[in-house]
Every structure is written in C-alpha cells, then in structure tokens.
Symmetry: C2
Subunit: 404 residues, 2 copies
Amino acid sequence: MGTAWTTSDGGVTAPVGFEAGAVNCGIRSEKPDVALLLSDRDAVLAGTFTSNRLAAAPVALCRERVATGVGRAVIINSGNANAATGAQGRVDADRMAQLTAEALGLAPGGVCVCSTGTIGVPMPMDKVEAGIKDVAGALSPDGGAAAARAIMTTDLVPKEIALELEIDGKPVRIGGMAKGSGMIDPNMATMLAYVTTDAAVEGAALQDMLRDAVQDSFNRITVDGDESTNDTVLMLANGAAGNTPLQPDHADWSLFVQAVRDVCGQLARMIVKDGEGATKFVTVTVRGAKNDAEARQAARAIANSMLVKTSWFGCDPNWGRIYDAVGYAGVKVDADTIEIKLDDFVAVSNGTVAGQTDLKSLEAVLQQDEFTVLVDLHLGNGRDTVYTCDCSYDYVRINSEYTT
Amino acid sequence: MGTAWTTSDGGVTAPVGFEAGAVNCGIRSEKPDVALLLSDRDAVLAGTFTSNRLAAAPVALCRERVATGVGRAVIINSGNANAATGAQGRVDADRMAQLTAEALGLAPGGVCVCSTGTIGVPMPMDKVEAGIKDVAGALSPDGGAAAARAIMTTDLVPKEIALELEIDGKPVRIGGMAKGSGMIDPNMATMLAYVTTDAAVEGAALQDMLRDAVQDSFNRITVDGDESTNDTVLMLANGAAGNTPLQPDHADWSLFVQAVRDVCGQLARMIVKDGEGATKFVTVTVRGAKNDAEARQAARAIANSMLVKTSWFGCDPNWGRIYDAVGYAGVKVDADTIEIKLDDFVAVSNGTVAGQTDLKSLEAVLQQDEFTVLVDLHLGNGRDTVYTCDCSYDYVRINSEYTT
C-alpha cells in the first residue's frame, strides 16, 4: 500500500495521455478564451454541478455526458456563460460538442462543454466555431498551463496542481485546474474545475469519490454566497498508468482518494485566495452543534455575512458580528454556552466576553493574511468548516464598474 | 366611517398624553444616547421582536412586558446593545427599568427597556443610572424629535412621522420613530421602532394588527441580510382620544389599521433610504411564484445578493445576477417562463433576453434614485415585495473602519 504523494509541476496534462490547448477567438477580448482538454483514449468520466435551478445549457449537456460515464474531451469557453439563452443555448452547446468532435475525429457524445462569462448573451457561434477549429490544432502534452489561463475571467492567477503517487507499484498522476472569483464582465463567480488522472478507476467509484471530494472542498468555499448557473467539476480517469482499476476494495484506494481530495482542496483554496477583492483567507469552523448540518448552516451564515467580512477587512476584532450571525443562522444555540475563538485566542466564553484575552491580541490575529474563526456551541457533536475571504473596497469596485 | 388621514408634524409625542426626552450620559460619545418615552396613563402595549436566537437581554425584558399587555414608559439607550452580556445583561436591563420607574414614580413592570449599540460590552451602569435620572427631568410634550435623535447610531437622519385621522368622529393621532442602518461603533443594523397613538385600542387586536403591519413593513426591508440581536418594535395606545376602543368590529377599524400600516411602511422606507452607504432605494417584487413564501424567498435572495446590490450601485443593468439569484433561491422556477422587468422595461421574457428593450433604457432605470425590479415566474399566484438598497464603497468603509 502506498503511503504518500508528491507534488509535481503542471496541471491537467501532467497525467499520461492528456493534451490541452488554448486560443483566442474574440468572444470578449484578446485574452485566450477557448480551451480544449483531450484524453488519447476513453476516460472514465465523473462530474458534479451547480444546484442553481436556472443552470446553464452546457451544464445540462455535461450532466448527460456524465450519465454515460465515459468521456474523451472537454471544450471550454470563457467570456459567455451560455445561460439564460433559452432553447438556442442548448442548440449552441450541442453544436460546440459537434464541432469539437469533428475537429478531433470523435463522436460528439464523448465531448463535454463548459462555458463561463456573461449571462443572457447569445453565444457568438461564428467566433466559437473558428476557435474550436483553431484550438484542435493547438493541443499539446504541455498545454495544461495554457488551458488554465484560457478559462480565467476576473481571476488574477491561473490555478493548477499536479500530484504523483504509486498505485500497484506503478506511478500514477493526478492533475487539476480551476477558475473562479468573478468575471471581467462581471456576472457571478462561476467555478469551473477539472481533474485528470492516468489511473484506471472504476466508474461508479470515481463518481462517488468525486462527489465526496467536492463536498469537502469546492462546496466548502464561499466568496459572496452567490451560486453560479454554471458551476461544474469534471474528472477524467484514462487508465494510461496501467494499474488494476481502482475501487473501494483496492489496497491503494484510500491513498488515491486522499490524493484526489488534496487536489480538490488545494484548487478550492486557490479560488478563495483569488476571490474578488480578497485580502484574507479565513477558515470558519463551527463545532459543538446539534448536528453537522446545523454546524454547516452556522458556518455559512458567518462566512457570508457582509458585516463579518467587512470587519475582517478592517482588522476589527468585532466578534459581536460573528455572534449575531450565529444567532440568526436558524440553528440551535444556547446564549450561555457559546464560545468564539480567533486563532488561539478566546474572544467569547460562556456566551459573553472572555476576560483573559485583550483586544490587541485579537486585533493581531485579524492583521494576518490567514486566520481561523472557531465557534463552539457546546451543545452536541456537529462540526463543519468553510473557507472564505474578507470583503474589501475592491469587491465593490470589481462588481460595480460599468461593463455591460 | 372615516375615509383618510393627514400627515402632521412631529413623531411619537404627536398623540395626546405622550411625552419624550433625551440626554447624553456618555456611553460612547457626546451625542444624546438616552431617550425616554412616557404615556401619562396606562397604555395598551404591543410589540414584535427579533427572531435572532441570541436576542439581547432587553429584548427578553420587553417580551415579558408585552405579555402583560400594558405599559407606561420606554427607556432606550444607544451605544451599547446589552447583547452577549450573560446573566449580568439581564440584571442591568432590570435595573434600567427599576431606575426609570423610580424616577417617574411608576411600577417597574410598566417600563420597557431597549438598547442598541456594541455587542459584548457590559452596560456602563454608573453612566446609565445618571442618564436615566437626567432624562426623567427632560420630558416634554414636544420631545419626540429629541428622542428620535437619541436613538440614532450610524443613522444619518432621524426618522419620525405623525398622522391624524378621525375615529368615532374624534381626532386621533398616530406617531412613530425608528432607527436603523448601522452603528458608529459598527455591529449590526439594529432596527428599533416605536409607534404611539392616543386612540383607545383593544389589547389583542393591537398586538395582532401590529404583528401584521410589521410583517408588511419592517420585515420587508433588508440592508445587508444581517438580523440584529436587538430588533424591536413597540406600540403604545393610551386611549386619550376618548374613542370607543378599536377592535375588528369597530366601523373605523380598517381606517385605523391602514393608518398604522402607513406609519410602519413609511418608517421602514426611511430606514432603507438611510441604509449604510445606500445610494438607491429599490423595490423588489416577485410574482407568479408557487406561493407567497416562495415569492418572499426569491425576493430576499435578490435583495441580499451582494452581486446584485453592487451592480445597482454601478448602474449596471446586469440582470444576469438577478436571474442567477432567483435560480439559487431554492424556489420552483422554470427557465422558459421567467420574466424580469426593471421599472417598465422588460429585460428578460420567456427566460431569455428580451429583444425589444435596449441596454440604454435599462441603464437609465438604474441611474434613478429609486426603481423597481419585478420578477414574474409565471408559475402560480405567489407574490411578495421587499425594499432594499444598493451596496456602495461606503458600506465597506462604514463597516470596516477600525473602531473597537
């Protein structure tokens, strides 16, 4: 049984058998806006999607592809979300799959389509058609970095990661890329992430594992509480490493799962750190709740409170706002038992101000780039953690500048 | 039966038999921070309170007073919320009622106590004690305006209103004052409102009517979605007008109810217009929802979306963010039927961009100080409206400046 993994350079093309590429087709600007990811053989495909009930057309397409369990390629555009585009939106998404399949000599059923950008603008299909033809000629085994840049919108930095580990004594690689934080033409912070591996993995196991990994990574982050119409995580496992297909009975299953969780967790943190206007990375943990669901509800109330987030930006140890958010979160609380800690410093114990900690210590915690807020309700065993950022002037600037 | 009412000058002391006063006792600064409202006879008392589960000590006290149905006076301080103050908080609130009762020669059971300000700081009872003694000597039949100023925190303007109408052919007055938007020492936007009337009103009827009026006014406003630990609305009806006590069978009941609703509605609008950093007043209506509750849920998701609020600030007709918020609100939606209007201009029809309205028209709507967002889901008869404001740099400034 393997014991650990190492980080390597690269992203989605680090695993054997994956190529990627990127071009500009002029959807919004001159930045690369079309990315293509290709596996040289059928890959086991898994995916998780936004729960927004007005999910975009390409999300509907990807759901169908994931249901087949097999995929070869993903075509991704930035600059236009293909959301709120009615029946034409689905026609255009299908056409993107068709054009990609033709350019690569594949069946369209093997092609996933993702879009991120402005809502409610018809896809400029003439530009997209040219872009798809171009990007098919731009594929390279080193193309992961270019793809990671092409899917960016208001992201300030590309987000990629690659790990190596050993399965059945064979080297296996896992790569990933993600985008998220907002848009040059702001709409909402669509989150897209792609994980590749050359490990062989059994289909249902891959889907279950991805769902759990996403739950504990991408679903734990929040920048502003606005869930996009386009959020998508896709994972392709092409088996090029030649291992016995992984599933829960495999001796190295747990190692592989932990490595994938690490990839998802690191990509998720990269998104928060690059959150619109973010200056601080904050881990919010609620424990001692009635159950995990209530812990999550309270942690999200804190993490999405504009009053809390602006106080973090101002380095103001204003724990009263955290206390207030817990109170309106709709969870079981007892005013006499609630405890609030900022890093190692107790701000509140037994529901009221803790005498032993001075404000200067709390202020010093908030002046860091990263810190932890811990709320212990002392009522039960429920526990959950979310990752978030502060809210600065730049959040307002980025999202209020006239751009439509 | 009366037909209408007229607006008059003044606020809570406009009705016969009410006096008010205000002084500074130095809780936080030199601005007036203690207000007292007194009825010269027992008044029928009604109230509604925050649903925050960590409600402050004075809220617990007021709930008990409202349960008795009778009150004489309300003592209010700004600068300290007496929240997260443990058992001592309730001792201090009781002491404030006792001190007020002694100064006025009343029983403490007739005195309500309200606090707004910093959370988690013990009440400076020496200062408060002196303030209560002083304010009892500052009462005046014209003191409403002074009280309206003393309850302010980060409010930029005092909020008061008075109406006159006829009941049983006798003149009846209704007065009101409110505070809310944030705090100089920011915690959260505690909302306090007081409505007085010299009408005689039957107790249970007053409570039911107030609950409904609050539901359709104060409970429809949102600045940032953070519900305070201290929100309180109290109404005192002292019967000085000499009418037959009002209750639902009274011929003028409906007139009286409408007038009280007008008072609550106008005070609520004043709070939104004075919202922290607000530059625009926005009415968000959702109709065609499965039911009223879902309409409310969708309207609140729109009104509390930071992405939506910042786009309003930027005068960006970015309806995609409204569309997105409806999608994640957790209500029944159909992507093919949703319609979005900004004032009279259709932005979205049948779930996609409406061709007949140009962006310039939508932009002109957002450049106004007040406008309406209407979302019609075209699925049912559910309908609700909330009132909110945009989110500007000043919101971040007010709430991030170091002040603890």
